[in-house]
Structure formats: C-alpha cells, structure tokens
C-alpha cells in the first residue's frame, strides 16, 4: 500500500533528526567561531590532528579484534580491552630488563621488535585461552550468555594481572629512536606518532589481506556467513574461530606497546578506556567490517583530539577538554543517526538481514 511522505515520517524520526540537526549546528557554529577567533596557530591544529591520528591508530588496532570476533561469532568480546592490557603489561618487564642490560641503547630496533613480539604473543595467548575457556563452552547458549561471560572474564583478567604485577603504574624506558620530531616547514612531526600511524596502517592492510586473499580468510568469511553450512562444507569452525581470536589478540598486543610508548600508564586498568573507545570506533565504522574499523577509529581519534578545541572553544565553554569524551560520543550518536549501521556497515547489514 502506498503511503504519502506524511504518513511515513513518525514522531521519533522528527525528534532524532532534530537532535542530529542540533549537533550539526553546534559543530558548525562552534567551528566558525573558533576559527574566526584565530586563537590557535596552524601548527597547533597540525599537532592536534597528528596526535589524534596516532590515537586513532591505536584504537584501530584494538577495534580490529572487536570487529573480527563480531563478524564471525556475532558476539561482542568485552574482555578484549584486557587482552589489550595483558601484552604490554607483561612486556614492560622485558623492556626494563633490556634497558638494564643496555640492549635498548645498543640495538633499539631489535629491542623494540622483541618487546612488541612478547607483548603480541602474550595478548594472543590470552585471547586464545579466553576463547577456549570462557566462550567455546557457551557457543550454543543464548547470545546474552557469552556477553555476560565476557564482562566477567574482563574483571577476572584485570584483577588477575593486578595480583600478578601489582597495582602501581609502570612505564616503558625511553627509546631514543622514537624520541624527537622531524620538521617539515614550521610543522613538527613526532616520530612516535608516525610509527603508530604507519604500524596501524600496515597491520590493517595485512589483516585485510588475510581475510580477503588467504584460504583461512576465505574460511573466516564463510563461517561469518553461516557457521552450520560452513562446517558442512568441511571447514573446521573451531579452528577458524581460534585463528580469529589469535589475530585480534596479536593486533591488540601490538597496539598495547604503541599505546604504552606514547602514554606511560601501564597498569592493570589501562585497557578499559581505550577498549571502550575502540569498541565505539568499531561501531562507528560498521562492526564486522575491517576497513570500517580502521576508518571509524581514525575519525574517532581525530574528533576526540581536535573536537573540544574546534567545536567548543569558540562557544566559550570553559575548560572544553574535560568534555573530550562527550564530544567523541556525541559525534558517534550523530553518525549513527545518519547511518545506523555505521559508516561502512551497510553491505554487511544487508547481507545478514
């Protein structure tokens, strides 16, 4: 039956679009006001954008774990933030030992690779154990059960690591090769930021290639389409799921080292906030979609970094940076109003519908 546009638009739609328009208006007005005040130099904006991209890179590497697991199991692995924490928290001891032995100064690149490898292996192991112990026995249970289990596993891991390594804060030793910046004109490009952004892009491309081009990637996509049919076709579903968790854990472990190099706050609680942000990024990009997770993470990182200064400063909001999380989540709401499935989520949503 054909309906006129009047009948098709409900009251809820109007309210939601109203909220969207209000957000857009605040963003536009705030941006214009800030830029006209000329408070920030182009160098300052560049600094902010770069650090936002670096933060986005870390979020992207974590978000890959969320999105891969969701793509295959339709399950949100809330313990992934602890997978992210476990690697760098363990590798910090390797780093400190290398530092005492002087290896960090004599072979910095090798040391960094070793630290990253240790971190990634630990995270990988934790992710695989998590799947084996906590999730596999519940695979046929209702969807809410693994979700609650994930939250429980998250607390278990946090406090297990607190018990093992203590609750104090640890830091990675300074790596001279990552210290300092390159100057491009009047802009400064920090090496740490570049390393983070490049690593994130490389990891993303490698994972995308694995999913799209390899045999195991094909199996992953098949399992994601339909587990039962895939297993009838001779795919070892358990193995595919283990590989998925391992890939997610590996990339979270790498992310952990990069994050800890930029922000020396290694403790048992370090995973919570980045994990939450990465999950947000995965939703923003369209959960289940690998390039989407990367795109969502980059957008989230930059918005979070630039947003408070760009949108709120010009409106005269005092201390706008306290509100950076608010800005990030409001933008999430805005994008989800326009595209409920996330930026790149549409194809997937149609395929699963």
């Amino acid at each position: 039956m054909r309906r006129t546009w009047r009948q098709r638009i409900t009251f809820t739609d109007v309210v939601i679009w109203g909220i969207g328009l209000a957000i857009a208006a605040v963003v536009v007005v705030g941006t214009i006001a800030t830029l006209r005040s000329g408070k920030y130099t182009p160098e300052a904006w560049f600094d902010l954008a770069l650090s936002g991209l670096a933060l986005g890179g870390v979020y992207a590497l974590i978000a890959l774990g969320y999105t891969l697991v969701y793509g295959i199991l339709r399950m949100i692995n809330f313990a992934h933030s602890e997978v992210f924490m476990s690697g760098p928290f363990t590798a910090v001891f390797v780093a400190q030992a290398l530092n005492r032995a002087g290896t960090i100064d004599s072979h910095p690149v090798l040391s960094l690779l070793l630290i990253t490898l240790v971190s990634a292996s630990v995270s990988c192991l934790i992710a695989v154990l998590l799947e084996r112990i906590a999730y596999r026995p519940l695979r046929t249970a209702p969807r809410l059960v693994p979700l609650i289990t994930a939250i429980g596993a998250s607390f278990f891991l946090q406090y297990a690591f607190r018990g093992l390594y203590g609750s104090g804060i640890r830091a990675y030793p300074t790596l001279d090769i990552l210290d300092g910046a390159w100057n491009i004109g009047t802009f400064r490009v920090f090496r740490t930021d570049v390393v983070i952004i490049v690593s994130a892009m490389v990891m993303m491309l490698v994972l995308y290639a694995i999913v799209q081009r390899t045999k195991i990637g094909k199996a992953m996509r098949a399992v994601s389409e339909d587990k039962e049919v895939a297993s009838l076709m001779g795919i070892d579903v358990d193995r595919v799921i283990v590989v998925t968790f391992a890939l997610g854990g590996f990339s979270a472990g790498v992310a952990g080292v990069l994050y800890a190099l930029a922000f020396p706050v290694v403790n048992f609680y370090m995973g919570f906030i980045p994990g939450l942000k990465a999950f947000t990024a995965a939703v923003l990009g369209g959960i289940g979609n690998v390039p989407g997770a990367f795109l969502g993470a980059m957008i989230l990182g930059v918005v979070e970094s630039i947003g408070p200064n760009l949108f709120l400063d010009g409106l005269g909001v005092p201390a706008p940076n306290q509100l950076k999380d608010l800005v990030a989540f409001v933008i999430l709401v805005f994008i989800l109003i326009i595209r409920p499935t996330g930026i790149l989520g549409e194809r997937l949503a149609q395929a699963k519908a």
Binding site: I169, A171, V265, I273, N309, Q322
Partner: protein, 427 residues
C-alpha cells in the same frame, strides 16, 4: 524441577536482600542520642562503675585489648606511594610511642583509592566498627569529602596527614566536619608560596593552571591563580583534564595559545606525568616552566615522565624545616623498618598525626582499677582542639578551632633525571 529452581531463586533473592540490608542498619549516627555504649565490660569488681557522660559516646578498651586505630589512605593504584609513605610514618610512630596506658595499639586500614568513589565505601566500612578510636586519613581531599562526614558522624577523631584542600578546615564550609584535623598544610599556604616562587624567583609574569576536577587540584589551582594575580602577574589560561585521561594534546594546545611562561598543574599520577611529557611536544610550550605540587612528589613521577622530568618543579612541605629529630632518628628508623628512604612527602605528617592522637588519648582516658580504658569521643576531640605548641617532627603544632594543626613551611623542589628525592631550590 521447576518448582525447586523457583524456590532456590527465592532463597537467593532473600539472601541478597539480607546482605544488602544488613550493614545499612548498623551505622546509626551516634550524635544526638548518645547511646550508653558502656555495655558492661569487665567492670563488675570495680568499686565505682564507670558511667559514660560523653556527648557522643565512649570507647571501652578491656584490660588485655589493644587500642584500635585505623587508617584510610591510598595504598594501591597510581598514587599508592603517597598513602603507603604515610602508613609507614604511622607504623613508626606506633612503634616509637610504645604502649598507651598499658595497652598496645593495633592498626587496621582501608584503601581509599585517592578518589571520592573509593573514599565513600572505605569510610562506610570504618564507620561501622565501634571499636575504632581514631582514624588517620585520608590521603586525598576528594576521599575526605566522601569519607570524613561518615567518620565524623560515627564519632571518630580523624587526622589527615596529607589532605591540603582549604575547604576541609575553613569555618562554615560544607566540607568542614567536627572531629576532623590535619597535620598537613592548607593549600592557602602552598598556593601563595608557589605563586611567590613563580613571580619572584623565576620572574615569570604570565601563568596558566590545569586541574583534574578533584577538590584538591581545583582549589589549589584557584589559590595559586589568585595569589599570582595579587602579586601583579597575569593568568593566560586555565584548563581541566580528567584523572584518567591520557591524551593531553587538546588542553595543552588551549593553554599554549595563551603563551604562558609557567604552567601549574597540582594534580596526581598518572595525569601529572602525562602532561609533563606532552607539554614538551606541544608547539609553543617548549620553553615553558612546568610545575606541580605535593601530589607529584614521588618516585613514580620519575618513572612515569622518564627523561621529560628534567627541570620539573614541585611545591611541597619543606623537609629541611622539620625538627632535628627528623634527620637524626626518624629517617634512620624509616630506612631500618622499610628498607628505603621515604618514598613520598607525607610520612612525618603521618607520624605527628599518630603522636597527637595517642597523646590526646593518654590525656582523656579514664582508667579503671583493672586497667580498662574509657575514652570519651567528644573529650578526645576537645583534647585535640586544645593542642598548643606541640613539638612535632613537622614543626610546632597548634590546632585551630576547625582542626588545622599544621606548621606549614612550603619549599619548591626540582626534579633531575635519575635523582630522587628532587633537589630543594627555594626558598
């Protein structure tokens, strides 16, 4: 089967309700009714039975029982050195003092986590224990805001070794509670001293401040800005971060736009170290002086900030203004008991807090023939308020009507890579 599980479910719900209701009933405020707590200890053979006439009740300590003191400090997490250092001072004081009127002193404690969220449950747990005579705590002013009302209503005498927010002892303030004392300075002194240092010693004329929303940081930053403006300086900006924020580039860009010569951020770890590192990477802040306060006087700052700690200033109590006993006997005792030099800045304040409390107990306790102690809670508080010219480690202590007992001398210290404690450079 179905019936069995529903019965089980009902049982579970009932037991949860019981557990949830249980503790809520215990902490009845002891203020108005003054319940006769003298629930007959072993005083039958005493010639005249002791009758508690104290307005807010008494604690009775049986002959072979210890006097129960509790601490509420931050002993885990990023700021653990702050609280553990104070606790070390407390333990040294208890050992130094020896038995009080023939009773040992027992110490138990709760972790307040340096936040209101941690102070609230810790305070509630302590308030539910009527054997506690006094509480040494809290470590952080935000903890105090949540915990001190509970402890005060429970009738305890509370002495903080490190809360410095002015509110806590400002008369007529909602955060000022009866029975609350502190041996640490009020930030009215610290803020003014830090501003004096910045204006007259460093010679800077524009400053900016960053706080983390905690009672301590917000007030201290405010006092600092006020004192600096009074000296004739200008405030170019003020920012705020959240305590668990890691990326500070936004707030630093905001601050940098004002072009300050010094940034004062009296906050905690890890945010303090993160700002120190990222300020060095912010365009326009390369030459800016960076300065924190006593919450950032800890080896954790060196670990957290790495090489960027070089040149970082902190305002803090002046260790050299402490009495001769500090260097001569306290520090050696600390090293002997804990195998390290003091790990933060508020250990001597913890020591003095215990010494004041024990002296007050000795003053007011009524001793029965068999050795039973009766300690009037209000009498104990009154004895604390009456403290005058007490020779403590941290100076000459006199308690005000609102509980300020400190003899504040503030110094400024400067960090250098690999050297702890930091170097004292002013005054």
């Amino acid at each position: 089967m179905k019936r069995l599980s529903s019965v089980l479910g009902l049982l579970v719900i009932l037991s949860i309700l019981l557990v949830a209701c249980g503790p809520a009933e215990t902490p009845t405020p002891v203020e108005t009714e003054a319940p006769p707590e003298t629930v007959a200890p072993v005083e039958t053979e005493a010639p005249v039975a002791f009758e508690c006439t104290d307005a807010i009740g008494c604690v009775d300590v049986a002959p072979d029982e210890p006097i129960h003191i509790a601490y509420l400090l931050v002993i885990s997490g990023p700021n653990e050195t702050l609280g553990i250092d104070s606790r070390n001072g407390i333990e040294i004081a208890i050992a130094d003092h020896g038995p009080v009127l023939g009773h040992e002193v027992s110490l138990t404690g709760e972790d307040g986590g340096c936040s209101a969220e941690g102070g609230q449950p810790a305070g509630a747990r302590l308030a539910a224990d009527p054997t506690i005579v006094g509480v040494i705590g809290t470590s952080c002013s935000s903890e105090a805001r949540a915990a001190v009302p509970l402890l005060s209503l429970a009738g305890f005498t509370v002495i903080s070794p490190s809360n410095t927010a002015p509110d806590l002892t400002l008369p007529g303030n909602e955060n000022q509670w009866p029975g609350y004392f502190r041996t640490a300075h009020s930030d009215l002194f610290q803020g003014a001293a830090a501003a004096d240092f910045a204006y007259n010693f460093l010679g800077v004329r524009t400053i900016a401040t960053i706080h983390d929303g905690s009672l301590y940081a917000e007030k201290l930053a405010e006092v600092f800005r006020g004192a600096f403006e009074d000296l004739g300086g200008a405030v170019s900006g003020q920012g705020a971060v959240s305590p668990d924020q890691t990326d500070m580039s936004g707030v630093l860009a905001d601050i940098a736009a004002g072009g300050p010569e010094l940034i004062y951020y009296p906050i905690f770890m890890p945010a303090g170290a993160l700002i120190t590192i990222q300020a060095h990477e912010t365009t326009g802040l390369e030459e800016t002086y960076l300065m924190g306060a006593d919450g950032l006087f800890s080896p954790d700052v060196m670990e957290g900030a790495g090489e960027d700690v070089e040149g970082f200033y902190v305002s803090s109590p002046d260790l050299t203004a402490f009495g001769d006993a500090y260097a001569a006997s306290f520090v050696p005792a600390y090293v002997e008991m804990f195998g390290t030099e003091p790990i933060s800045i508020f250990h001597a304040h913890g020591y003095d807090a215990v010494m004041l409390l024990l002296a007050a107990i000795e003053e007011v306790a009524v001793v029965d023939a068999d050795g039973t102690l009766h300690i009037g809670r209000q009498a104990l508080r009154d004895a604390m308020y009456a403290v005058e010219n007490y020779e403590g480690l941290t100076g000459n202590l006199t308690c005000s009507d609102t509980g300020d007992c400190a003899d504040p001398v503030i110094a400024v210290y400067q960090y250098h890579v690999g050297v702890y404690p930091p170097e004292r450079i002013w005054p």
